[in-house]
Symmetry: C2
Subunit: 374 residues, 2 copies
């Protein structure tokens, strides 16, 4: 199998489709947890928006980077219900029509989501049935997705940290797939530049699509540190780098394949996010919240040298979760055969990491940004 | 495998997805041919519409019952290009934005179509790139699909002959899957009533979605005869009935399975179509054209008793074409195992039918209706 070029690697970026054992749909508990943590910001933002709009007959909302399966419609259901409730609270007897766009890249598994649309529509309150329209929009959110001045509300969860391409200038980053301590200084700069370009483009595309006073809530992975070179930027990719390096030394992965693979991902800190929004200029920042990463299970241990069965299980859980996010990307570059060995190793490394991580500060977090189109 | 109820049978209605040997995408030459025959009506309708609209900044168009694969985007490409050309011809230098909705039932294979969207957008002329937005709308066209007063142009090819459900009252139609000579009189009445209800509902749903003076072009299978009881209504289903009856007598299909299966399909004559449009009342009929069914190959034969290799090949072609349209429906009712035997038989029967059909009048045709929202 030929490795795709660095640019086309992003064409393979998608969550694992269907609803099988390793699919995103079966393994997205974490993403579901994140939405329940950020839901209050979404609701607050919708309510504030509706106070400043003149009760349009049709409200157009979009979820960008929606992925596939049940999660996709979970956020949309809360958005639709919040709109209806707010209309009622503000004394409007008729709910508006709601036009709901679900966006992801063209090779995302929309079929799995679309099969759930009838039950989504069925679950809506009686007076809303027939007034809610769902569509799928297959394109990169780094391009225009909707007609000018058509959107009222945009939600995006755990997507904007994915870059439009692997940054240029990472040729010397050959022992890692991301920003990993120690690391040449240009690696961080390349990633930061790509993030600034991409996030700025994202905001400009949306600014054209929004009606004035439209609102947007974005949640994505960020980091706490301001000095990225002294720390690993995202521990998950550092562990995955270690797994791949092991497979290189075992002869399963070719060294050249490892050298040319870098994750199209950047987790910015809060200042970097604020700076891009302010420089782009179309949106006002209402609020930025940060949330520590959720650990969805408790780890209780007495002896950190001994890796307990609980930690081994926890490591496997984390590996399964990462697999549903990265399998299509890794298969596109390394081929099918590496998937089993990589995630077996990852489960072991993660168990070890968890056994000591209680003593280490958690460097990553989720950033929730609430914006208003000026 | 349990047979689904008569109502839920329509949930299994879809063209065969993917792009494999038996997929709709690989076998839809006939449907492609039909579009090239009706394209002039589509173009004429768009041009007339644009003369009566005040150059909207965004034109919203939809293809209803789009199916999956290359055909889906073929009609949309011509629609988009016609809009652009007409704007130019009318002296507008900037093309409008175009919002293109592709509709089909939720279990349609949208993924295969969506993978083709990037090349569709790429093929558009330079000045149009970034101004054309494609979305998929997974719902029955017998319900509301789009917000009120949002649509400018609707196209639907070879879809409106599919009913929303198997008609009630077909319990005594147990030797056929459709209207087949000889046939109890209530069978024809049940089918006609269901068609009237469904097509009327289709028009009412669209009437709410259209802007005033919006246009719609519908192509579907119809028939020439006014007296359906003296003839088979649709020869394709009559031949398929014969195949299934053979399999009943061979013990491959249970008699009870055959008795409870009826095609959710009706091919109206021109009068029936005109009557429903006039009674519903929201649309003006601009034009009705009828086109004889295309025979996409030539049959030359000297001796009609001898089934020539050409006819055997032609029978196989027709069987493959029908298979991509009906396989999901047949599998839902009869199970996977019947598919091979049914279409082997169908190929043989069709070859025989073709060997004599030169001497029989062709009873079916395609009806093209061009409508304007009043």
């Amino acid at each position: 199998m030929m490795s795709p070029s660095r640019d086309s690697l992003v064409d393979a970026l998608s969550m694992k489709g269907g609803n099988g054992e390793h699919s995103y749909d079966s393994n997205c508990h974490y993403q579901r947890g994140v939405f329940s943590e950020t839901e209050h910001v979404v609701k607050e933002s919708i309510k504030e928006m509706l106070m400043n709009l003149d009760f349009p007959g049709c409200i157009k909302v979009a979820d960008l980077g929606c992925s596939s399966g049940r999660n996709t419609l979970l956020a949309m259901f809360e958005i639709v219900n919040t709109i209806i409730e707010t209309y009622q609270q503000l004394g409007r007897t008729n709910p508006p029509e709601m036009d709901c766009g679900l966006n992801d890249l063209p090779h995302n598994d929309f079929n799995t989501t679309f099969k759930l649309v009838p039950s989504f529509l069925e679950k809506l309150k009686m007076e809303v049935k027939g007034r809610c329209f769902v569509s799928g929009v297959p394109n990169s959110f780094y391009s225009r997705l909707f007609p000018s001045k058509s959107l009222h509300f945009v939600h995006s969860s755990l997507s904007v940290h994915w870059l439009s391409k692997v940054p240029d200038g990472l040729e010397n980053n050959n022992k890692s797939i991301h920003i990993k301590d120690p690391c040449p200084p240009n690696v961080y700069k390349s990633y930061l530049n790509q993030f600034k370009k991409d996030f700025s483009l994202f905001l400009r595309m949306r600014s054209e699509e929004f009606v004035p006073n439209g609102h947007m809530v974005l949640t994505f992975v960020g980091r706490k540190v301001t000095e990225p070179l002294s720390k690993d930027c995202f521990q998950v990719w550092s562990l995955l780098s270690d797994c791949l390096l092991d497979l290189v030394s075992e002869g399963v992965v070719r060294e050249s394949e490892m050298e040319y693979f870098n994750m199209p991902f950047y987790n910015p800190n809060e200042e970097e996010v604020r700076e891009v929004v302010q420089n782009e200029g179309s949106f006002k920042i209402n609020k930025v919240e940060t949330h520590d990463h959720i650990v969805p299970y408790k780890i209780e241990k007495d002896d950190e040298d001994l890796i307990s069965p609980e930690l081994i299980e926890a490591g496997k859980d984390r590996a399964t979760c990462l697999r549903c996010l990265t399998e299509p990307l890794l298969v596109a570059h390394f081929g099918e055969a590496v998937i089993g060995p990589v995630f077996d190793k990852y489960a072991q490394y993660m168990a070890k990491y968890l056994s000591v991580s209680g003593h280490r500060p958690n460097m990553t977090l989720n950033i929730v940004v609430s914006l208003t189109r000026k």
